[in-house]
């Protein structure tokens, strides 16, 4: 065997230079390795004798663009290389794997993933993250549904089809599904069979249009996509909701139902603290009867963000209803959907006729993307008049077109709060 030339050793092994790091306790070395990318961690095996097998027990395996670098155009080659790396690491690894993340920009939903999913199902994975950045939806291998220890599941661009004997993820607390396809009944089944589910993120889904959320432990719900209806059952702990409806049509069908969407939506959200109404969801809320006030006020709501078309009368009314039902609101954000507001006709000034009420807690207001039309100014005026403890209102127009006119108007408005400052931001 050929030995290394002694010359390379001498400078590093002189007596006063002790190898301190290798003598650190094992759990610290594990910790250091866990802060490295998988690539650097695996490479540590050739540092020295003491480091040879340190990495193999790493509980977290992350295969992403940082940990696996492949630069070639040839798709077949890229795929082979990536597949081999994952195969290798899984073969060499010893001990429990708590986290498995596969998110490489150059990996399509190849069938090789099946055997990794299957292999991992024999262990006790707590966190499973699979993101397919290119190509078609990857049909997730059915063994995923037997991961009993799963706490966090995150999927991107996958096709889900739980088997009929799927019993749910009993430990799952966090579920993040983006660009996924699944059936209505399967979606409902998955949500309903995760009793501990606290966080649910849904973005750009296909195959189901009714968001029936039956999740008693749910605290956090973030959704964005095309759907027809949303309803909550027993979600009494839900505190943070961010909801965006991506289409402006197809909502009208809900008209004619007894109560109207606004009342229905808030019925199961008694403890909501933060709410973001995004894209066209206010339009959904404005369908049906819009009461002046919700039957039960949202007493815990402290942050509210609404994307609104100020020219749409129903939306204005829905927003006002919401504001009026949130007596403890501290922060408000209004984002104008300017692209629709350019319609020539203006809605009647409903704000003026709205019974005034006082926001006793509201301290911060942000108004973004306005164009300076009358409806917007009315709304701002209304807010300034009714917020006795306002500290700061930030106004940021969509473009410079309105310019000085808008500033002049803003200056004129009377303010209920003597401390309020108005900050005008350049677009």
């Amino acid at each position: 065997m050929k030995q290394r030339e002694p010359t390379t050793k001498v400078p590093y092994n002189s007596k006063n230079e002790v190898d301190i790091i290798s003598n650190l306790p094992g759990h610290i070395i594990d910790k250091i390795l866990s802060h490295l990318s998988l690539r650097d961690a695996v490479r540590s095996s050739i540092l020295s004798n003491k480091w040879r097998y340190k990495w193999v027990t790493l509980p977290h395996l992350v295969f992403d663009n940082q940990s696996v670098l492949v630069s070639t155009q040839d798709q077949t080659l890229v795929k082979n290389k990536l597949v081999n790396i994952v195969d290798h690491v899984l073969l060499l690894h010893a001990g429990p794997i708590h986290k498995f993340k596969l998110s490489h920009r150059d990996l399509q939903g190849v069938s090789d993933i099946d055997r990794w999913v299957l292999y991992l199902s024999r262990g006790s994975v707590k966190e499973f993250i699979l993101e397919i950045w290119k190509g078609h939806r990857y049909k997730l291998h059915s063994s995923i549904y037997s991961y009993q220890k799963l706490v966090h599941l995150e999927l991107f661009n996958c096709l889900l089809k739980p088997p009929s004997n799927f019993n749910g993820f009993k430990s799952l607390k966090s579920l993040d599904l983006q660009h996924i396809t699944m059936d209505q009944s399967e979606f409902e089944k998955i949500i309903a069979s995760c009793p501990l589910l606290e966080r649910l993120t849904l973005m750009n889904f296909e195959g189901f249009g009714l968001l029936n959320i039956r999740a008693p432990s749910l605290l956090f719900f973030d959704v964005g996509g095309v759907f027809e209806d949303v309803s909550f059952v027993g979600t009494f702990n839900l505190a943070v909701v961010s909801i965006g409806l991506y289409v402006n049509n197809g909502i009208e069908r809900n008209l004619g139902f007894g109560t109207g969407n606004l009342i229905k939506f808030f019925a199961c959200l008694p403890h909501i603290q933060r709410l973001e109404v995004q894209s066209f969801f206010l339009k959904y809320l404005a369908c049906g009867i819009i009461p002046g006030k919700l039957p039960t006020p949202c007493l815990d709501l402290s942050y509210l963000s609404i994307r609104i078309n100020f020219n749409d009368m129903e939306e204005n009314m829905a927003a006002l209803c919401l504001l009026r039902s949130s007596p403890n609101l501290q922060e408000l954000e209004l984002l104008a959907r300017t692209e629709e507001q350019n319609t020539a006709f203006g809605a009647p000034n409903i704000v003026e006729n709205f019974p005034s009420f006082s926001f006793s807690q509201l301290r911060l207001i942000k108004i973004i993307g306005i164009s300076g039309i009358k409806q917007e100014l009315n709304f701002i005026n209304f807010l300034l008049l009714n917020t006795p403890v306002l500290e700061k209102m930030t106004v940021k127009p969509a473009s410079t077109d309105s310019g000085w006119e808008l500033v002049k108007e803003l200056l004129r408005f009377r303010r209920a709060s003597m401390f309020a400052e108005i900050v005008y931001l350049d677009p």
Partner: protein
């Protein structure tokens, strides 16, 4: 002082002191409220120690006076209430700016005092030192002995648990080595002096291409995902449109690969044509070993049998079959993919040179810029 000591646990004793003895025998008095931040000291105090100079808390041997004073600085800052996260973060950042030797000592000392936040901070700092460096650089920084021979770096994985998977892998490695040896022999091996083993070993792990900045690459890609998540950007293209394929412009700056490696690669990639399609992926799989090192290839003493711990011939035959199976499994893919591989066999060759370039990083950043 002694009077106060009996009441030391009472919270109202704001300016209480505690006596600590470091490994060198020296004893010092420090403010209790800061020292209490270390669980180890806290437990000792509760056990009644440290109340006087005669009964000091003797700290673990890994805590010397210099480290103790650093740790107390850390505790003093973080014990003060009302500091913003930003302030704490910037303090932490400055705090760990020290040479790696001290950083290691500090990690060790903090660990022995069970001061978890500081252990997290310092081990993260140590990871940052290691990040993206070549093994040679890491060895130099930490004075690690380079006590692995080239062969050891490639040695079969220890199979203490008699794990059949490892056995298969070892067989595969061994076969690979043998092939490489053969080929090298035919090639009348060029001078086999050792050359930068690090880079090739990186290759071996197929985790090539590292540039010290790749962490930045990921961070930006994270942002990208965040953007994607913003609902108001709901017009984001479907995932298949975000494909990087058109940007995967292969960097040609892979020049830093040395010629010998190239030769090795070429001989390897021509392999499928020589050895038939089944071996293609096996070769790829064990590429790490292949390209590794010419010195190794010339070694004669490697043999399959070395690797299996005295197995009887019947079992051996069975293992051989398993190895074949394993190879086939590595290769398991759609038939058309197979065709593709075969037809691409020739054209693929020139592409090999790109593997070592650091172009990939640039590629990803440019991708991110495009997406913003």
């Amino acid at each position: 002082m002694t009077e106060a000591d009996s009441d030391i646990i009472k919270p109202e004793m704001l300016k209480a002191y505690v006596w600590l003895q470091t490994s060198d025998g020296s004893i010092q008095q420090v403010e209790q409220e800061f020292a209490m931040y270390c669980p180890f000291i806290c437990q000792e105090i509760q056990a009644g120690m440290g109340s006087s100079k005669n009964y000091p808390i003797s700290l673990p041997p890994r805590v010397n006076p210099a480290m103790l004073s650093l740790i107390l600085d850390y505790c003093r800052f973080h014990q003060v209430p009302g500091r913003s996260n930003k302030e704490r973060k910037s303090f932490d950042e400055k705090f760990v700016r020290m040479d790696t030797k001290r950083l290691c000592e500090l990690t060790s000392a903090a660990d022995s005092l069970q001061l978890k936040p500081l252990v997290d901070l310092t081990s993260r700092a140590l990871a940052r030192v290691i990040e993206g460096k070549t093994p040679e650089e890491i060895r130099e920084i930490f004075h690690l002995p380079d006590d692995l021979t080239e062969e050891e770096k490639l040695e079969p994985i220890k199979n203490t648990m008699d794990d059949p998977r490892i056995r298969l892998l070892n067989r595969l490695y061994a076969r690979k080595r043998k092939e490489l040896k053969e080929r090298e022999r035919l090639k009348t091996a060029e001078a086999e002096e050792e050359h930068a083993d690090e880079r090739s070993v990186d290759d071996l792990l197929s985790f090539i291409n590292g540039s010290n900045e790749d962490s930045r690459g990921t961070r930006t890609s994270k942002t990208k995902k965040k953007n994607r998540k913003r609902k108001d950007h709901h017009k984001t293209a479907p995932p298949n449109c975000t494909s990087t394929s058109n940007i995967t412009s292969c960097s040609s700056n892979s020049v830093n690969m040395d010629k010998k490696e190239l030769d090795a690669r070429h001989s390897m990639y021509s392999n499928p044509l020589l050895h038939g399609k089944l071996l293609t992926d096996v070769c790829n799989a064990t590429k790490l070993l292949d390209i590794e090192d010419d010195g190794l290839a010339a070694e004669d003493e490697f043999d399959d049998c070395d690797l299996d711990d005295d197995i009887d011939p019947a079992l051996k035959e069975q293992i051989d079959r398993e190895v074949e199976d394993f190879a086939r499994r590595l290769n398991s893919d759609w038939p058309e993919r197979m065709q593709e591989i075969l037809s691409l066999g020739q054209q693929r060759r020139p592409l090999q040179v790109t593997i070592n370039g650091n172009g990939s990083l640039r590629r990803f950043t440019s991708l991110d810029q495009r997406q913003k």
